[in-house]
């Protein structure tokens, strides 16, 4: 249908967009300032394009991209809710955006106050004692939380605890983070109701007696189901000497209803780009603050914002701290957005968010359960998982259903995850969608189910209306083409 040239293929030698300030100091030959050996022989071969070309090119690219502002995005586990515009404006205020991270505390009182208060809000929302705002994303929060647990065990002379338990439905980041923290992972089976199999948990705890460092869990889990045995699970893991890590990816279901701390967890990470409406940015930035219970506070990375007699200040971490997990104080402008969101919603609004997210998910699930297989038929929380098994028997897979949704201007659900459901389609409508949008989605999904039964080729050929069709992933991986190269000049022989 169309392709957009690369920026490197546009323009002409000598063209240029941005201008630099007038050089208002005396000019001396460069090699009188530094030896020529340190100077770049050739300028980097960047594009040579005018401003109008830059604008047209990236505007065209934006038109070849789909965001929440364009349409429904029921992407399970990702919480693609509406990103309020005021959040963007607040993050662009010069007092926040044009602030150097190493400025003196007396010059950054507003930023410190915001961080101090945000920490308190997140501690309250999660039922934790203190929160570090340093981690840049969920997975960064996971490794931070696991390092805190590791330091805790070491401080008690139990550094030999080397096993992290992870349910089979967990996000891939959980086992990857555990490895990075120097741990070995053991997978826990799910039971028939979709929760952790408590009998299997008991077996595993017994088999690795004295070696359990932690259990990592989401609740509601990746099936969108709340684990009713959570108190029992927490008790058993604690009795075995392990700590409980809460993956906060699914927090949008429980705001103001229950808290990780109330369920017995010791560590929790937030995904502010999910729960607190900060935009996903085409893959990032996010923010992954980590909250901990009282006994883990000494192990937090520092510094932490503090309130003093003279205002706000950075407080250095104590001797037991794991140390820094990144430079500076976190993804501050993302934190500004999250702060704005929490202040807009207030306590009742936050709870209303979760209640509405749960209602929207159940509304869609019940409306469509005659058309798609529902492996766990019980109230879901903020999301649920269908299986496309029935459709697959007629020749159309979850992938084909996903691609057919693109023809209707709807972003597909998460597919083939969690791994415990074959042909999984994980649907998370979020609270910010109107009933009409949900009804449209329901009608489209019914139509697709009918097409799968009657005209599966419609699905197999989908998408029909996008700027490109299905792309050859195998070719991409077999012969990686990861960058543009200057084309050699063709000469006639």
């Amino acid at each position: 249908m169309s392709t957009e040239q690369l920026i490197f293929e546009r323009g002409a030698p000598g063209r240029r967009a941005a201008t630099l300030p007038t050089l208002d100091i005396p000019e001396q030959p460069l090699d009188s300032l530094i030896p020529a050996a340190y100077l770049r022989a050739e300028p980097a071969p960047l594009p040579e394009v005018s401003e109008i070309e830059v604008v047209r090119h990236y505007t065209h690219l934006s038109q070849r991209n789909f965001g929440v502002d364009q349409g429904f995005y029921p992407l399970g586990s990702c919480t693609m809710k509406y990103n309020p515009k005021i959040n963007e404006d607040m993050a662009s205020l010069p007092g926040f955006a044009r602030l150097h991270p190493l400025e003196h505390e007396s010059m950054t009182q507003g930023a410190l106050q915001l961080l101090y208060e945000l920490e308190q809000y997140l501690a309250e929302i999660s039922g934790m004692r203190r929160v570090t705002l340093q981690p840049a994303a969920g997975a960064h929060g996971e490794i931070t939380g696991l390092m805190i647990i590791k330091a805790y065990h070491e401080s008690r002379g139990e550094g030999h605890r080397n096993i992290v338990l992870i349910p089979d439905g967990a996000h891939g980041t959980n086992p990857a983070s555990a490895t990075l923290a120097g741990y070995t992972t053991v997978e826990l089976r799910s039971d028939a109701r979709g929760g952790v199999d408590v009998a299997h948990l008991e077996e595993v705890l017994a088999a690795h007696d004295g070696k359990i460092a932690a259990l990592m869990m989401t609740n509601p889990n990746t099936l969108g189901l709340f684990d009713e045995n959570i108190v029992e699970i927490a008790r058993r893991v604690h009795e075995a000497g392990g700590q409980l890590y809460y993956d906060g990816a699914n927090s949008n279901a429980i705001l103001g209803i229950t808290r990780a701390g109330d369920m017995g967890f010791d560590v929790v990470h937030f995904n502010l780009h999910k729960t607190c409406s900060t935009p996903h940015g085409g893959g990032g930035p996010g923010a992954g603050p980590v909250g901990v219970a009282e006994h883990l506070v000494p192990f937090l990375p520092g510094p932490l914002p503090a309130q003093t007699e003279d205002g706000y200040a950075w407080e250095d971490a104590g001797p037991l701290s794991i140390g820094r997990v990144r430079a500076n104080c976190g993804n501050f402008l993302v934190l500004v957005r999250a702060y704005t969101y929490i202040r807009f919603n207030g306590p009742d609004g936050m709870r209303h968010v979760s209640e509405s997210a749960v209602l929207n998910a159940n509304y869609v699930m019940r409306a469509l359960q005659a058309d798609y297989d529902l492996p766990y038929d019980r109230e879901c929380m903020h999301e649920f998982v269908f299986s496309a098994n029935r459709q697959k028997k007629r020749g159309a897979t979850a992938l084909d259903i996903a691609k057919r949704l693109l023809d209707f201007g709807i972003h597909p659900p998460t597919i083939y995850f969690p791994l415990v459901v074959p042909e999984a389609m994980m649907i998370e409508p979020t609270e910010t969608e109107t009933r009409e949008t949900l009804d449209t989605f329901i009608a489209v999904m019914r139509q697709i189910a009918q097409e799968a039964a009657e005209r599966p080729e419609l699905l197999l050929e989908a998408p029909h209306d996008t700027v490109v069709g299905r792309l050859d992933q195998t070719l991409a991986a077999r012969k990686p083409d990861l960058r543009w190269h200057t084309q050699p000049v063709q000469t006639l022989a």
Binding site: L6, L61, N83, E88, A91, G283, P285, L359, A402, L471
Partner: protein
């Protein structure tokens, strides 16, 4: 207040459609013993206009760079961002999109990232680059992790002239993963070649230096390469001020295996330190060991060129506990900003950026060096940052500068007590001659007044 569109009446109808009476009926799996039996203790909701007023007031409690001339760098740099950059990357088709796992409706972001990967290669002189990391410090950590490999053991040698915050972050991860972190000492503000040579062993997995280093000093990249590659260790060059690459030799030219760094300088606001933009580039041979996402070019079922996320079997969502990294969410939007920034500056503009920073910093350096009591600490060539021994404790100097509307340099005394009273000044193209002359005058005056006392 909330962004929930459906009214209470509509929600009642939806509940009926679900077959329940109240929302409570849907929340039954959450047992009373774990329920929060009260409202969250958060401040009451604020309507948008009230909230805007509150946030504006809070932001004005900060000394932003619209109101102060800043000479603070030390890993985060103020550069001028052309209007075209935010206008384009803030288009909501970009910022409200998810990771481009559905390539048919994500060609815009995918192509932009492919362009980003290309530009990072062009400025660093490397073969391949990924789609971004969290920030410079964690990008350097990932370089160390790549070097130590799946076993996670071995020595990583780190120049003491690597940003102190990066070194702190590396120490944290070294402890957790189980590799050994060792520091290489300094000579005249540059990595000591003698120390490096003595520390290299068959167990050395990586040598990490920064270029220009934390003091702004240009390291002898080639000499360090020769020593490093006498062993099987990987040569990692960290870059915190990529504006230098407009004019300074690219690490690819002096044999770096990995270039990892911070891209904030290139089109992103300082934002009190975040979000920042980690970048990661390497030689071709490491492509299947890279951390994070990669965009590749391919063809679709209609024969057209298009872009996809590729080589995903390295990543956590496929490889789980055997992934090359645990990273998932990255900094895509900032990568887009940098792509637009570098396109807007272009070949000539990027070089001019480097030249301007270099010239202005040298002008400031030479003027400060002529003030009685101030003395350059090191003799090596430098780019846009330099260390000065000061006649007064930097804390005292900076306090006096603040009163004059100037944000002074970085106080080196905490991280490098052996240097005594010393300050690190950064001077980019954003500083005018007037700014620099005012700084020089102020430094002279403050020191003079102190001497009289």
């Amino acid at each position: 207040m909330s962004y929930v569109p459906n009214t209470a009446a509509e929600q009642q109808e939806m509940l009926r459609a679900v077959g329940v009476e109240t929302i409570e009926d849907l929340l039954k799996p959450i047992s009373p013993e774990v329920r929060l039996q009260r409202a969250l203790a958060l401040p009451k909701a604020l309507p948008e206009p009230d909230l805007r007023r509150l946030m504006l007031r809070m932001s004005e409690e900060n000394a932003d760079l619209d109101h102060y001339a800043s000479f603070l760098g030390a890993g985060s740099y103020e550069h001028i961002i052309p209007s075209v950059v935010p206008h384009l990357y803030k288009r909501s088709e970009f910022y409200t999109s998810y990771t481009p796992y559905q390539p048919e409706i994500s060609q815009g972001m995918l192509q932009a990232i492919y362009e980003f990967q290309t530009m990072i290669c062009q400025i660093t002189g490397m073969d391949v680059a990924n789609a971004s990391m969290y920030d410079g410090s964690t990008a350097v950590v990932e370089a160390a992790l790549l070097a130590v490999g799946p076993a996670g053991v071995g020595d990583v040698l780190v120049s003491r002239a690597l940003d102190p915050q990066y070194r702190a972050t590396l120490r944290t991860y070294a402890w957790a993963r189980g590799f050994t972190y060792r520091e290489i000492g300094l000579e005249d503000g540059a990595t000591s070649l003698a120390d490096l040579e003595a520390a290299l062993t068959p167990q050395t997995k990586a040598v990490i230096i920064q270029q220009p280093n934390f003091f702004g000093v240009l390291e002898d990249g080639r000499a360090i390469e020769r020593l490093t590659h006498k062993t099987s260790a990987l040569y990692v060059v960290a870059i915190t001020e990529p504006a230098s690459l407009g004019v300074i030799t690219a690490p690819g030219e002096y044999g770096a295996d990995i270039v990892a760094g911070e891209g904030q300088s290139l089109g992103s606001p300082l934002g009190y330190g975040g979000p920042a933009l980690g970048f990661f580039a390497s030689r071709d041979q490491f492509v299947r060991r890279l951390p994070g996402r990669l965009v590749g070019k391919t063809v679709d079922d209609r024969g057209q060129e298009g872009y996809v996320l590729t080589l995903q079997t390295r990543e956590q969502h496929i490889r789980r506990e055997r992934a090359t990294s645990n990273i998932c969410t990255n900094q895509a939007l900032l990568a887009l900003a940098t792509t637009i920034y570098l396109a807007a500056l272009g070949k000539a503009g990027f070089r001019e950026l480097g030249v301007q920073c270099l010239r202005k910093a040298h002008y400031a350096h030479d003027r400060i060096a002529r003030i009685a009591g101030y003395r350059p600490l090191f003799t090596h060539p430098y780019f846009d940052e330099f260390a000065i021994a000061t006649p007064l404790p930097p804390e005292q100097l900076n306090a006096a500068l603040r009163e004059r509307g100037i944000i002074g340099g970085y106080d080196l005394s905490a991280d490098y007590p052996e240097l005594g009273d010393a300050m690190l000044f950064a001077v980019t193209e954003a500083r005018t001659r007037e700014d620099i002359d005012a700084l020089v005058e102020a430094l002279e005056e403050i020191a003079g007044t102190a001497n009289v006392n």
